[in-house]
């Protein structure tokens, strides 16, 4: 009896070791070759970034929400119709909420007159030094080499540490099942389950097939410009070279990569 139990334990122990070793072996002695081939049309960047040219919004018709609507459709963002459950990837807000602490009685006038009181378009800043990535206990959110801060919806445990860490309120939990609240489903992009966090992904899935982000494409006034900051000839670099620009909360050291031209 004892003999068989001992043998069983030996075999069981060895098998556990064996299975446990496989990922280690893969990591150390893997071939390093990707199993998937990249689409030749894919857009390649070294440091993706966005410039929001707020003055161009002036040319749009009042209440224009093209960028928001395009994003919501592209990413199956649910519309719960209440602020408590709200999920948003890109949205419009007033100056004092986009740049809190930088308002003063006179800038109000500038924003009102010069920018016709336009709301500011805000989204995930895809920070170079993202606190959300630093705090995630399971690496469900991570920074890609091209600068995109990406989410793995299949790994997220819904602890919401990232939501506490993000200084821009860019992150959302699915407080309930989002699927019944998707207005028109886009079969090209996965829907999420309740209990996971999501946010803007700079349209990583579109870049992979050679398309620019949905919000940028939707903006008829070209107020949103997307490009590679490491490429000196890119449009974003040209804009930042020729216009004074500001970032949101630069003093926090997260190095946000969405720039605003007022």
């Amino acid at each position: 009896m004892d003999e068989t139990r001992r043998t069983f334990l030996k075999v069981a122990g060895l098998s556990v070791l064996g299975f446990g070793a496989k990922p280690v072996v893969d990591a150390v002695a893997g071939t390093g070759q990707s199993k998937f081939e990249r689409d030749p049309k894919a857009l390649n960047g070294k440091r993706w970034a966005m410039v929001v040219d707020q003055k161009k919004c002036l040319d749009a018709k009042e209440g224009c929400k093209e960028c928001v609507l395009a994003c919501n459709y592209a990413h199956n963002v649910p519309d719960f119709g209440n602020p408590k459950d709200e999920v948003k990837w890109i949205w419009q807000t007033s100056y004092e909420h986009a740049f809190p602490g930088q308002e003063n009685p006179y800038i109000e006038g500038f924003v009102k007159d010069s920018l016709k009181g336009l709301p500011f378009t805000v989204l995930c800043n895809h920070c170079d030094n993202p606190p959300c990535v630093r705090v995630c206990p399971v690496k469900a959110t991570f920074r890609r080499p091209d600068g995109i801060v990406q989410m793995d919806y299949h790994r997220c445990i819904g602890c919401r540490f990232c939501m506490a860490a993000c200084p821009f309120g860019a992150r959302n939990l699915n407080w309930r099942d989002p699927r019944p609240f998707i207005k028109k489903e886009n079969p090209e992009f996965p829907t999420r389950t309740r209990g996971v966090v999501e946010k803007c992904n700079f349209c990583a899935e579109r870049l992979d097939v050679g398309k620019i982000p949905a919000c940028v494409e939707a903006c008829k006034e070209k107020a949103l410009v997307f490009g590679d900051l490491e490429d000196p000839n890119s449009e974003v670099r040209a804009l930042l070279r020729t216009h004074p620009s500001i970032q949101r909360k630069p003093q926090l050291g997260t190095r946000p990569q969405v720039y605003y031209i007022l």
């Binding site: 602020p83 408590k84 459950d85 709200e86 999920v87 807000t93 004092e96 909420h97 986009a98 809190p100 602490g101 606190p131 630093r134 705090v135 995630c136 206990p137 399971v138 690496k139 469900a140 790994r155 997220c156 445990i157 819904g158 602890c159 919401r160 540490f161 939501m163 506490a164 860490a165 993000c166 200084p167 821009f168 309120g169 959302n172 939990l173 699915n174 407080w175 309930r176 099942d177 389950t193 309740r194 209990g195 996971v196 966090v197 909360k249 926090l252 050291g253 997260t254």
Partner: protein, 384 residues
Amino acid sequence: MLEKALRGNKSYFTWIGFLLVLVGMGFSFYLRQLSYGLGITGMSRNVSWGLYIGQFTFLVGVAASAVMLVLPYYLHNYKVFGKITILGEFLAVAAVTMCLTFIVVDLGRPDRAFNVLLYPTPNSVLFWDMVVLNGYLFLNIVVGWTVLEAEAKSAPPPKWVKPLIYLSIPWAVSIHTVTAFLYAGLPGRSFWLSAIMAPRFLASAFAAGPALLIMICLFLRKYTKFDAGWEAIQSLAKIVTYAMIISVFFVLCELFTVFYSQIPEDMNHFRYLFFGLHGHDGLVPWMWASTVLAMLSLVLMINPKTRNSPGTLAMGCVCVFFSLWIEKGITLVLTGYIPSPLETITQYHPTVPEIGIVIGVWALGFLILSILYKVALTVKTESV
């Protein structure tokens, strides 16, 4: 030894039955939360942690306070605590179990909780919190149980347990430090972004935990055969007094820095907490209740007359416990979110299922505590 928990009088079983009913109630609410999602609670996009994480934070302190018994007894050979050290260790076991349960009920995807082990991430404070909490639970179960078992057999405790006891002392400090670091390292949450957060957590822990122990000891003295000894209770009372004074002092330090520097972003949280901001004042009554209780407790605990009399000592400890429960269990977590980093104000109101789950987890903790204490006290009273 566990069989000792199966024998008891009617009031013991009524108490156990009562706790089981509460646990069952909490569990049924939790099943509803599992099927609906965390939207069943009062949490929202802007206030994304609520009562669950608040209770977790407070209870880490209660757990850490076991060290206030272990350290004098084992390190300084303070024999007076010999009888009650086990109560501190078992309180830590019950409190850490509640902490871990609160974390699990707070997860959006509890089915994936083990991802924390599958993808260990040393740069996340939450990962370290998981490590230190589970370690502390293990240390206290093993130490408490082994020493008690030796006592039941009238034998000295085995030698290997000594290093574990010594290890449990810095470990207790670590659980509360790491828990404070969950908050104190986040850019953009100025209410939490304070170097004094961990010391503050430790001070309030060493007040709230021993205060609860004194209440338990006074209760046991009155209603059971177990007497912790008046000297032990008095020593604990002095620990509570000093810890509470330090805790209040640390809060005043925070208030000075925030209100003398007059940085609006930092002030707004405290203004919301104490006076209300832009007409929103959901936490104001709670904060003032906590403040009044803290002042009252200092009067009752500092004055030797009131500290030395069981009736007023019990009152003092109740004041300490509830003042700190409000401060850490409710206001500390919520105020970090109000106003939000984008300077919007979303208030938070816990829902009925959420409160039901909170009560259920507390009942689970008290169930574990009652069973462990029953075993310990039976051993103690039989061996005398």
